[in-house]
């Protein structure tokens, strides 16, 4: 074997051995994927970015609602529920709360079916008994009550009676959830 080939092979062997040792050391020390929080969402930049956007949209809706432009308020809030969101419980609750506000605004505009779809979308996100879920059920009652009054004003008495019954059912559901949340809180010592 020529001497330069032997020298090159030797250098390569030394590099390979040292690299293998270093890899072993790194594996022992651990890496990001091995962290204790792997698979669990933490409070991070994307979550804050989403919350900031939602906050901006709600304040924008406040101002346009003050001016009486409910359509513009709806448009501002739709961006919160249609855009991407992180898979974090508080982000999901914010979206559910936004659905509730959208339903309130849409039903105020007379758009009852879209309003009820918003309520159902919000309820699908909040299975656990919380004030967010209770609020959605209460808004469902509000939407149905408005529909009942609209139908009654048009003389559609049967449909109005059905809407009124559904509204009462929704309010009852809201009260049940709110009672459960309050009972849970009081049984925990009020905290």
């Amino acid at each position: 074997m020529k001497p330069w080939i032997a020298a090159g092979a030797g250098a390569a062997a030394v590099i390979a051995a040292l690299a293998a040792v270093q890899c072993t050391r790194e594996a022992t020390a651990g890496s990001t994927s091995d962290c204790a929080c792997a698979g669990q969402a933490i409070v991070d930049g994307p979550l804050l970015a989403f919350l900031s956007r939602a906050r901006t949209a709600h304040h924008q809706a406040d101002l346009t609602q003050e001016d009486g432009d409910l359509d513009l308020a709806v448009a501002a809030l739709e961006r919160v529920v249609t855009g991407p969101r992180p898979d974090a419980p508080e982000a999901i609750e914010v979206v559910a709360d936004t659905y509730a506000r959208l339903a309130d605004l849409r039903s105020d505009l007379g758009d009852f079916e879209p309003a009820l779809r918003d309520v159902e979308a919000g309820l699908a996100l909040t299975a656990r008994p919380t004030h967010f879920r209770g609020h959605l059920l209460e808004i469902k009652g509000v939407v149905l009550e408005r529909r009942y009054r609209a139908l009654d004003a048009r003389g559609e008495t049967d449909a109005a009676a059905r809407a009124k019954g559904e509204a009462l059912e929704a309010f009852k559901g809201a009260i049940d959830v709110q009672d459960q949340v309050i009972d849970d809180a009081l049984s925990d010592g009020g905290h």
Partner: protein, 249 residues
Amino acid sequence: MKGERKLRLVPPPPSGEALPDPGVDEPFTDDEIEAAAALRDAIDHGADPLAMALQAAYAPGKLGDADLDAIVNRALGQEGAGTGAESAAAEQLRAELAGEAPLGEDAALLQSLRVAVRPTALDAARNEILIAAALRAPLRKSPVTMGPRAAPSPGLLRRPVRRIAPLTMAALTSVAALAASVALFFGRPTPAPRGDATAELVRARSADDLFDATTPFPRHGEESARIDRIASARAADLRRNRFAAWGVK
């Protein structure tokens, strides 16, 4: 010391005689005027990066809704979202690479990389010229390398060089590789164990605990107040997480 200038008081000029105006500069040259005009045009057209940066810092413009959405969407994982400025820059780069516009610095770099990865075919005539030049060069250099005392044939003169060069290169390569390996082994910072730090990170969780559990939300209004409270609380959590990640306690 002879020849050294010394300060001395001088009498004021007689009344009525005009003093030279220290504020008057020499007249501008044509080049300076031309450069000033070019800079003014660049600033007017937003083509001067420094002026743009200063202007943005002094009087920042409103961020467009589309740009804001793009930034937030990208933060949430949609890598394809781009701002207006980025789209314009991408279009400019495309035009430069397609030969529709003069090559800029970035496009020139990409062009070089493209040629390096997929070299284009060399013109046959140019190839011959390069080969001929390469073959001629060692023959010209050989006598100079070995000195002018002897004048044997060029082939004989190059033999010692052929023998020494591989050995020298092998030795130098080995030393460099060994040094690099040792630096890699000892110098590379090993990540500190993160178990403790990650255990302290604040997890995302329900916002229930931010509100009085015994008081349901009002039927209308206060949505903005609720999101304000959630965002503020999570901003504090994010600060704690960042400090924890940096190892600050």
